[in-house]
């Protein structure tokens, strides 16, 4: 009964802002990079995120009974180019959490599986400029029956999601600007208990989860071997409620977060099958989330089935 805490919208803010923008061979649902036809690429990305301050509603605070909350994970990401304008990609994560103070035990387990179809219906060049439009659709669901009602140490929120995203990419020589917006339709989740209070008492184990929107603006250098981009991310929960003073966080809280970060990808000149990725981000504004600072690093390998 002692630890008050808070969650951060782990699954998507985390998975999207940190695991995204990985590599040319490991495009994500948020970048404007496409793989070529019959190209297959996969790899692992390790991520580390931690915070010692969080927003309890709009009140920023620390919690000596949590100390620093750290989430780590490894994500496996396969991608395949059906055509150079139509890619499919998936990801699956193993995640573990811990708190540096207090008595609460961290959790660990397989988190979510996501599958995306990425389609580039429009790509027009104007001299040194190129404009592309993308449409993406995806689905994600938990890979295990992990505990969602133990925030901030739960490894995810447990929703099944349907994600639709539109994206515009502008390239001038090697400088790109990419903007995208996504709507995340989230399923209800079930708890291990059969009653809960959000802003009123509910006699059910089922929690109505508000949908969410996600926005991203990214810009940088897109070279043959090096990609370097700065990112501005926003996750906005379309509904939900604030954590009341000193209360526990809850899956259907109104979790909002804005973060800035960088992502780098480098393809080895000596072996263009192999690329290394890395990046970092920090949260600059939030509500009912931890003020997370995160970094990630990974390695990807590309296969060319047909030339």
């Amino acid at each position: 009964m002692s630890v008050k805490s808070i969650f951060k919208p782990f699954r998507f803010v985390f998975a999207m802002t940190l695991f995204s923008a990985t590599a040319t061979h490991a495009q994500t649902e948020m970048d404007a990079i496409m793989m070529n036809k019959h190209q297959f690429c996969s790899g692992f990305d390790y991520m580390h995120s931690s915070w010692d301050r969080y927003w309890e509603g709009t009140l920023k605070r620390t919690n000596e009974n949590l100390g620093t909350v750290t989430t780590q994970g490894v994500m496996f990401m396969p991608n395949y180019g059906i055509t150079s304008n139509l890619n499919v990609m998936a990801s699956a994560s193993y995640v573990w959490t811990e708190a540096s103070a207090g008595t609460l035990k961290g959790m660990k387990g397989l988190q979510d599986l996501s599958v995306f179809v990425k389609w580039r219906p429009v790509a027009k060049s104007f001299g040194a400029n190129k404009l592309s439009l993308f449409v993406l659709g995806g689905y994600s669901a938990p890979l295990s029956n992990y505990v969602v009602d133990f925030l901030p140490l739960s490894i995810g929120l447990g929703t099944k999601n349907l994600i639709g995203r539109g994206m515009v990419d502008f390239l001038h020589k090697r400088i790109n600007v990419t903007a995208s917006a996504a709507y995340v339709r989230r399923s209800n989740v079930t708890l291990d208990r059969d009653t809960y209070y959000d802003t009123e008492l509910h006699q059910t184990n089922e929690v109505k989860m508000p949908d969410a929107a996600q926005y991203q603006l990214r810009a940088g250098y897109r070279g043959k071997y090096l990609l370097a981009e700065a990112l501005l991310n926003n996750w906005t929960t379309l509904g939900g409620f604030d954590i009341t003073r000193n209360n526990m966080p809850f899956p259907s809280n109104r979790m909002n977060a804005t973060s800035v970060g960088v992502q780098l990808k480098y393809t080895l000149k000596s072996n263009t099958h192999l690329s290394l990725i890395g990046g970092g981000s920090t949260t600059i504004a939030g509500r009912n989330v931890g003020q997370a600072t995160a970094f990630n690093a990974g390695v990807f390998y590309a296969f060319y089935f047909k030339k």
């Binding site: 009964m1 002692s2 630890v3 008050k4 000596e64 009974n65 059906i82 055509t83 304008n85 139509l86 103070a101 207090g102 008595t103 609460l104 035990k105 961290g106 179809v117 389609w119 219906p121 449409v135 659709g137 689905y139 029956n145 505990v147 009602d149 133990f150 349907l162 639709g164 339709r185 399923s187 209800n188 708890l191 291990d192 208990r193 059969d194 009653t195 809960y196 209070y197 009123e200 008492l201 509910h202 006699q203 059910t204 089922e206 109505k208 989860m209 009341t244 003073r245 000193n246 209360n247 526990m248 809850f250």
Partner: protein
């Protein structure tokens, strides 16, 4: 291109499918059927009250005759409502028809859950205490922790019960028929009953609840008064009561509850929080006995929860019986037995199974919940719904259950602060917990004591479910070991003490005239 086209159709189709999926949730008492008692318990006016010396302690004047213009006007008031009912009004009737005791019990659980949040610390590391005289200022009053909640449920339920016993006495005495018996043309939206309608049992429960809740949840009057207004209106709209049935019932309920308010002001709960002097004394006394004292593992250290709650005046268990119920001392912190018990908990929490975590969380009933007593109220309500009991029998069984739970809290807290022994994670900091660590001594487990008491009493009034109640109590008890916050001896002794407290409620049940 064709492939792309069909793919995008597929994606869009899947999207529409998910978007069209409803997120609507049906909560499990939302559609509870209207209460239609198999037995109206017409003679419940002679049942033994808790606090009243007689059902006539509060006078209820004789009702006006059904032939008077005033009464006919009251019938017409109902007809006017019924001529133009909105969906919301029909929903109100449906909601309240499930039972007055049931719905006010749910409202209580909602208030407890809302207020079951420990205050945040001050900037200097001390903790503020909620102030009943200024309930809306932070920290809002009350902090509805388990002992506070157990006492609140008991007072509300006992006040409802005594007021209903009195109401039944007057119902039989005055024998005023329900409005739909007087005027056969009147539509009635709830099951008809042979029970005399004056004073209204619904308004009795509403009046008693509102009056008790002014004391227990003084900052939530807007919410409570709205529920009360809706409750009275639902009965009127339904054609179940005329206005004078409701007014007499509400007045009776309030007057009876006043007697419980007076008792509550003198039951020593107001001083249960203790003081710095006392908190230090508990520690030094424990050291003087050669034992390891409990230490708060919150940061900054929080004073223990209601250390003098063991001195609160129980309804069933008096102070001497309370001491007699206290179990023998726990194993010494330095003993081999305690080392083994600590190791057992360490092993349990090291690699918990998913099922163990489910059990921990199902029974955790921690911050932001209706507490373990509230959980047992929910379990009881679910089964009582199937019984088709009269309101007075509902109230009697809820009162006995909640008096047992309150007294279980008293005996448990008396024991906890008598021995003042440490939690497993104090003796072995490597023990990480799967639920919040309660901020008070370990021996005996509150969940086990509550559950033992509830299971014993519920097994008496719903005997066909006795073995399930015991299985639930055992699971609630062991959940505290799985959670890493209690030793085996805390849980086993808690169940025994709880069962013994539950026997007090059974003894009373066998002598109150209702069986």
């Amino acid at each position: 291109m064709k492939k792309i086209f069909s793919l995008s159709i597929l994606v869009a189709g899947a999207g529409l499918l998910v978007l069209s999926c409803s997120k609507a949730i049906t909560e499990h008492t939302a559609d509870a059927a209207a209460l239609n008692p198999a037995n109206i318990d017409l003679n419940a006016g002679v049942w033994k009250p808790v606090l009243l010396s007689s059902p006539t302690d509060v006078a209820v004047p004789a009702p006006i005759a059904a032939t008077t213009p005033d009464y006919i006007a009251q019938i017409n008031e109902i007809k006017t409502w019924q001529a133009d009912l909105t969906t919301d009004e029909k929903d109100l009737v449906k909601y309240w028809s499930a039972g007055a005791v049931l719905r006010w019990n749910e409202i209580m659980r909602e208030l407890v859950a809302k207020h079951n949040v420990p205050p945040a610390q001050n900037a200097d590391g001390t903790y503020p205490a909620p102030n009943a005289n200024n309930p809306l200022a932070y920290p809002t009053f009350p902090f509805a922790n388990p002992p506070y909640a157990a006492r609140a449920y008991a007072y509300v339920a006992a006040a409802q019960y005594d007021a209903l016993v009195s109401a039944w006495y007057y119902k039989k005495l005055y024998n005023r028929p329900a409005p739909y018996k007087v005027d056969a043309a009147l539509a009635v939206l709830v099951p008809k009953s042979e029970l005399p309608s004056y004073p209204s049992e619904d308004a009795v429960v509403e009046g008693a609840s509102v009056e008790m809740l002014k004391l227990l949840f003084p900052g939530d009057q807007d919410f409570i008064q709205q529920k009360a207004e809706e409750h009275r209106r639902a009965r009127l709209i339904a054609g179940a009561n005329v206005r004078s049935d409701l007014e007499a019932g509400e007045a009776l309920g309030r007057a009876v509850a006043q007697k419980f308010v007076t008792r509550a002001r003198g039951d020593r709960a107001g001083t249960a929080g203790g003081s710095q002097v006392l908190w230090t004394q508990l520690e030094t006394d424990c050291i003087a006995r050669g034992e390891t004292p409990w230490i708060s593992q919150e940061s900054p250290k929080r004073p223990p929860m209601l250390p003098v709650f063991g001195k609160v005046k129980g309804f069933l268990v008096d102070s001497l019986a309370c001491i007699a119920l206290r179990p023998a001392a726990p194993p010494s912190a330095s003993s081999t037995k305690m080392k083994n018990e600590t190791e057992e908990i360490y092993q349990l929490v090291k690699n918990p199974t998913r099922e163990q975590i489910r059990i921990v969380h199902f029974w955790a009933d921690g911050v932001g919940t209706a507490t373990p007593p509230g959980h047992w109220n929910a379990i009881a309500a679910d089964d009582f719904i199937t019984k088709n009991w009269s309101e007075v029998r509902w109230a009697r069984n809820m009162a006995l259950l909640n008096m047992a739970l309150m007294d279980a809290a008293i005996v448990c807290w008396e024991t906890k602060f008598y021995y003042f022994n440490p939690r497993p994670s104090q003796l072995n900091p490597a023990i990480k917990t799967l639920t919040g660590l309660p901020n008070f001594p370990s021996y005996i487990s509150g969940h086990s004591t509550f559950s033992g008491a509830a299971a014993a009493f519920l097994g008496h009034v719903v005997p066909e479910r006795a073995s399930q109640y015991q299985a639930m109590a055992n699971e609630a008890s062991v959940s505290r070991m799985y959670g890493g916050i209690h030793y085996r001896s805390d849980c086993e002794q808690g169940l025994v003490v709880g069962k013994n407290v539950g026997q007090f409620a059974i003894n009373r049940a066998q002598a109150d005239g209702a069986e």
